[in-house]
């Protein structure tokens, strides 16, 4: 009996862009922008006003549309094109494996079978989300589909429990094998986040489902921060949470390696599995991509057997762009609100007009060293660039400030090391006119490591030495072996050395408010990127203009 | 002369109607003191405010009040306003809240002069001082607020205000109750002086029978909204015709012979 399996066989095909603005296979090398001169990132915090503004034409681009009713409404709007992509988002319920009864794998499997993820996705997201069974989101290049799936089947859940010796009390509460006392009441910690009104609802569904197989569960809604503090103290039974992950699968190490089970660590559920640990270590310190890929897939297969979480769904990213723009870029893995769109878009009917881009939150500080706010980075990512970019289609590495690189494992004192050699692009200048050289890369990495800047410290802590044999070569030698060093180093933004030298206190640094030392009209917030910072009016907008000296324009 | 003929006043509310004055006829001549005596709630105040037509909305009036050929019960509001204070000014109980608490006494006197007589501001202020002086209030009092004055001083201020426009009639509603005896005498003296000097008519409404007997030229006794007795004080003392008058007189220790 293979119930419902045929549904998953119809695979989600991705790359779908609705209607008129359909986009052919995207060729990164064709992008030569930006074409627009003015970019206003307008702060609309309320989803209702975002929707209204988009429909009214006050906004051109709106990303991250979460409410299904909005999606349906925009889909029927003739002036707006929607794009959908899979997201690096993963919503799950975690068990506290440190205590009874969740250390029982059968119970976890039964619980997984009781939770109707598919129905939750239907009812709460009207299908605009993807039920998942794995520990990486399906968009990940390292996603392994061939894992043990705990299909929704409450009857089977009861069956496997009964087979393992569980019984039910007269009230229908589960009694562990060999015992005579029913399970004590347990709580599911659930955030009641403003931004995600659906989370509490999902928790209630989960609680109902688990109650139906005899787990005496109730939901305890908490604000996000008290919930995190309970989790950090390991004071919980069950919890729901969502992570927004990166394209690299080494998050698996952070979430499931036994060394991460410390107060405040990411192994919240307290998983200790020596065999899995070995695989995760292999993943974390993989010398090359092939090893990494193998380890990542193996870890996912093992995890679905261990079931430390019940993965529930992964969000689709839905973005809307008004139809009077052409050149909008969206792929199966990147929704339309991306840098490539900004580099490529221009008014459909010619002419020149500013783009109004929705910023759903206030940028917190525009301090690239201090902030970890995603909204700051929506702005900063247009100003600062890394050595390597991510291909919007394949999610592979794309030459950016570095035209070429090499990853080697070399022997040295204390064992093998990873050595990264980057060849930098020539002719790139900072927005204030000063040439970009290997000195900037070196200064950036040294600065991040020396000041232990939290956002980057994990990326740069293993750097052993940096060599710059010439203006366009950087050799970074790491203290150990890991393929991920390439992404950690290559993906970090590069800051201008001549500005970093003036930074006295990185925490309170406000580059957007300092006058640039060489060009009076500019601020210290200068990078190599396609847009130049012009003005930030708190509560209203961030104004950026095209970087006329952007290297991609020059290559035209 | 103000001639009241067969005046009835009835207060109406949604639930009931209360007759307060029933068929009163009375004449108030100039240059004389006319007193109306009666117990509290007997309709005296209603009579006073009826003459000035300051009764609450919804109050019914019938009968007539004739002032020099003008029918007050039917006159336009505009003509009434003209009548008030210039022809007949009101002197209320001084201890009562008759002065606006947030305005100085001087301002309140001058305001009447400015607004009613169109006097320029400076002149009005000077005249106000004179008026206050007439009632023995020194100039310093013009700048004071009512709460800084004693009861008698307030009463005198009210009288100053009342005579400001040189009205033909003063209508005094219990001008002396709640004042001590000495102050009472002063206030009454002031009032009577005004009447005699300027030839005004004074309608004095009071529950104080001896006072009425001592100063009035004509007097009337009011009981349950009706005038039960009218005449000179001498006549009423000597020959009270109504039982209520006799009760009143005996209550105040005035002995009277039987009317019959």
């Amino acid at each position: 009996m293979i119930p419902r399996r045929f549904l998953s066989l119809i695979l989600f095909l991705g790359l779908i862009l609705q209607g008129k603005a359909a986009c052919a296979d995207f060729d990164v090398s064709s992008v030569k922008g930006p074409h627009i001169k003015d970019l206003y990132m307008v702060i609309y915090r309320d989803p209702d006003s975002q929707m209204l503004a988009l429909q009214k034409g006050e906004l051109d681009v709106l990303g991250d549309i979460a409410r299904p009713s909005d999606v349906d409404r925009l889909a029927s709007n003739q002036e707006i094109s929607l794009s959908i992509s899979r997201g690096f988002h993963l919503f799950f319920m975690g068990f506290n494996l440190r205590k009874e009864p969740w250390n029982d794998r059968t119970l976890r499997h039964a619980a997984a079978m009781a939770v109707p993820s598919r129905q939750i996705v239907r009812d709460i997201f009207s299908g605009y989300s993807e039920p998942v069974d794995t520990y990486l989101p399906p968009v990940s290049p390292y996603y392994e589909p061939d894992v043990t799936v705990h299909e929704h089947d409450p009857a089977k859940a009861r069956q496997i429990l009964a087979d393992a010796g569980w019984k039910w009390s007269t009230e229908g509460t589960l009694i562990p094998p060999g015992g005579d006392r029913p399970l004590k009441a347990v709580k599911l910690l659930s955030p009641t986040a403003q931004v995600a009104p659906t989370t509490a609802e999902i928790s209630n569904r989960i609680a109902e489902a688990l109650k139906s197989i005899g787990i005496p569960l109730s939901v305890e809604p908490l604000d996000f921060s008290s919930m995190i503090s309970r989790l950090d103290r390991h004071d919980f039974d069950l919890f729901v949470m969502a992570w927004s992950l990166s394209r690299d699968p080494d998050s698996l190490f952070a979430f499931f390696h036994s060394s991460m089970d410390v107060p405040g660590g990411y192994n919240i559920q307290g998983l200790h599995d020596p065999e899995l640990d070995k695989v995760l270590e292999e993943l974390r310190w993989a010398p090359d991509e092939k090893t990494a890929d193998g380890a990542a897939r193996k870890a996912q297969r093992m995890l679905s057997d261990i079931s430390p979480w019940i993965p529930i769904y992964s969000r689709y990213m839905v973005a809307a762009v008004r139809d009077d723009w052409e050149g909008v870029v969206s792929t199966r893995s990147t929704s339309a609100d991306n840098l490539w769109t900004l580099l490529n878009m221009r008014p459909l009917h010619g002419g020149e007009r500013p783009v109004m881009w929705c910023l759903p939150e206030e940028p917190r500080s525009l301090n690239p060293l201090g902030t970890s706010s995603a909204y700051d980075w929506q702005v900063l990512a247009l100003i600062y660039e890394g050595l390597i970019a991510v291909d919007p289609e394949t999610l592979g590495d794309l030459p950016w400030l570095a035209t070429d690189w090499k990853v080697e494992t070399v022997d040295g004192e204390g064992g093998p090391h990873t050595r990264l050699t980057f060849t930098l692009r020539e002719g790139v200048r900072w927005q204030d006119g000063i040439p970009f050289t290997s000195r900037d890369v070196r200064k950036t990495l040294e600065f991040l490591k020396e000041h232990e800047i939290p956002r980057y410290y994990d990326n740069v802590r293993d750097i052993e030495r940096i060599d710059t044999p010439d203006d366009h070569t950087v050799i970074v030698t790491m203290g150990n072996v890991s393929y991920w060093h390439l992404h950690n180093i290559g993906g970090s933004p590069v800051f201008p050395a001549h500005i970093l030298e003036t930074v006295k206190d990185w925490e309170s640094w406000q580059p957007a408010r300092e006058t640039n030392p060489s060009v009076k009209e500019l601020t210290s917030l200068v990078g190599t990127g396609p847009f130049v910072f012009r003005e930030y009016r708190p509560g209203e907008f961030v104004h950026l203009v095209r970087n006329e000296g952007f290297w991609l324009l020059g290559g035209d | 002369m103000i001639a009241i003929r067969d005046l009835s006043v009835t207060y109406r509310t949604a639930a009931r109607s209360v007759p307060a004055v029933r068929g009163v006829s009375l004449e108030v001549p100039r240059g004389k003191v006319t007193a109306v005596v009666g117990e509290s709630g007997g309709g005296k105040s209603t009579l006073v405010y009826g003459i000035l037509r300051l009764l609450p909305p919804g109050t019914e009036m019938s009968g007539s009040i004739d002032y020099d050929g003008m029918e007050l019960t039917r006159a336009s509001e505009e003509r009434m306003r003209e009548f008030r204070w210039k022809k007949a000014a009101l002197v209320t109980q001084g201890a009562m809240n008759s002065l606006t608490p947030v305005l100085t006494v001087g301002y309140q006197v001058a305001e009447v002069l400015r607004v009613r007589l169109g006097m320029p501001g400076g002149e009005a202020r000077e005249r106000a001082l004179e008026l206050l002086a007439m009632t023995n209030l020194p100039p310093g009092y013009a700048g004071k607020y009512p709460h800084e004055l004693s009861g008698g001083e307030k009463q005198r201020a009210v009288i100053s205000m009342a005579v400001a426009c040189s009205p033909e009639f003063l209508i005094a509603d219990e001008p002396t109750s709640a004042l001590d005896v000495i102050t009472q005498a002063e206030v009454i003296a002031t009032l009577v002086r005004m009447v005699r000097e300027k030839g005004m008519g004074l309608l004095l409404v009071t529950h104080d029978l001896p006072l009425a007997l001592s100063i009035s030229d004509e007097m009337a006794v009011m009981h349950e909204g009706r005038l039960v007795e009218k005449g000179t004080p001498e006549r009423i003392t000597a020959f009270p015709s109504h039982a209520h008058t006799r009760t009143l007189l005996s209550a105040f220790g005035v002995t009277a012979r039987s009317g019959q």
Binding site: F6, P197, Y316 | T13, P56, P57
Partner: protein, 397 residues
């Protein structure tokens, strides 16, 4: 001429009756999904279809649907079918215009479980339509007879249920989860009343006792208490409530406590001045000289005098508490498990009912809150007017 009782008293009794008798009379759990999300009320639905259901069983292998409306919002197929014969089976949809779609195909020879939902991305992809297109508009291209049939060997057992949710529902339509708004509305009146009345009762009790104490004691104690009242009155309450909700949690009783603790000041002030004037009155003075104890005076004389004031304060305070609850709920600071009118508005806003124009989801709780507030305000005013007839609207000095 006797006036009929004031309208607000009648309305209050009606609301009480609904709150007491309404929820138990509801058919089933108000949390159930009844129709499509944001389904308009049945009487305003216009061309929206009613719910439809049918089944494929061994006896009947075809469902015919005579469709007279626009495409339904959704389509679900759920159930199990058992086949003895091992040969291909297909579920085929034929539209009125002759189009044909294979919804599922599998091989017989076992028990199959089917769980299809037209909203699933996989379902849309299977039909070859983009993710934002509606699968049902493909399956219901026009009005007429659409057919779902099972092709292949006859099933030996089980049944497959087809359900089309209604496009309109009930008296007040459905919310974002397809729940009956009328049921939620009826359940919600309880919470709004409960929060409003109990918070205000608490506040009034506090205000009464503090006011009486302050007025009766007088002197330094009085000055101190009144200063405290001044201070509390000049601090904006909502921010404090927000902080307290953060500390104590978002439960219903916590909310009642918090609201009660921060709204007693007005009553205390009024009661205190009343007590002060009574204390000075000859009447109480006499009682005291007759040897009456403070408790006797408090209980027999001050309390009855203060009662109308307190009653009016309760009546006038309830709207404040109800509105405060609604405001906190709107900011997301209330217990998500408790259905109150404020919560309904919060969810309506959170799920985009305002921009979607789902007025049936917004107007009932919005008007409900204001109606209940109006009722209490009017009752309060009536009580106030009894105590001070001068305030009566129109007539009478």
């Amino acid at each position: 001429m006797r006036k009929p009782p004031r309208w607000s008293f009648m309305a209050f009794l009606l609301i009480l009756a609904v709150a007491a008798a309404g929820p138990p009379m509801l058919p089933g759990d108000p949390g159930r999904t009844m129709a499509k999300p944001f389904a308009p009320p049945a009487w305003s639905g216009g061309d929206a279809p009613p719910p439809f259901s049918g089944a494929i069983t061994p006896a009947s292998r075809e469902i015919t649907i005579d469709w007279k409306w626009d495409a339904p919002e959704n389509l679900t197929l759920k159930g199990q079918l058992a086949f003895d014969e091992d040969s291909p089976v297909r579920l085929v949809w034929t539209t009125a215009e002759g189009g044909s779609f294979t919804l599922a195909s599998f091989r017989g020879g076992s028990l199959w479980e089917v769980d299809l939902d037209a909203r699933d991305m996989a379902f849309k992809t299977g039909l070859g339509i983009p993710p934002f297109a509606s699968a049902t508009s493909l399956l219901f291209p026009g009005r007429g007879v659409q057919t779902l049939s099972l092709e292949g060997p006859a099933p030996s057992g089980g049944s497959l249920d087809l359900a089309l949710p209604g496009g309109r529902w009930g008296l007040l339509g459905t919310d974002q989860r397809g729940r009956d708004v009328l049921s939620l509305f009826i359940v919600g009146v309880r919470v709004s009343l409960l929060v409003g009345i109990s918070a205000t009762l608490l506040a009034s009790l506090l205000g009464l006792s503090i006011g009486l104490t302050s007025g009766y004691l007088g002197g330094a104690a009085d000055a101190l208490i009144m200063r405290a009242v001044d201070v509390l009155l000049s601090i904006p309450v909502l921010p404090i409530l927000m902080v307290f909700v953060g500390i104590w949690g978002k439960g219903l009783w916590q909310l009642v406590m918090i609201l009660g603790l921060f709204s007693w000041m007005g009553t205390a002030r009024t009661v205190r001045s009343l007590a002060l004037s009574l204390r000075e009155s000859c009447y109480v003075e006499n009682l005291r000289s007759l040897g009456a104890g403070p408790w006797y005076i408090l209980y027999r004389h001050l309390l009855p005098e203060a009662m109308p004031v307190v009653l009016a304060a309760v009546s006038l305070g309830v709207p404040g508490a109800i509105l405060a609850e609604a405001g906190l709920s709107f900011l997301g600071l209330s217990d998500p498990r408790v259905i109150s009118w404020g919560r309904m508005l919060h969810e309506a806003h959170g799920f985009g009912a305002f921009t979607a124009g789902a007025w049936w989801l917004i107007i009932p709780p919005g008007l409900g809150i204001s109606l209940i507030c109006l009722v209490f305000l009017d009752m309060g005013r009536a009580i106030e007017e009894m105590a001070d007839p001068r305030l009566k609207g129109g007539g009478g000095r």
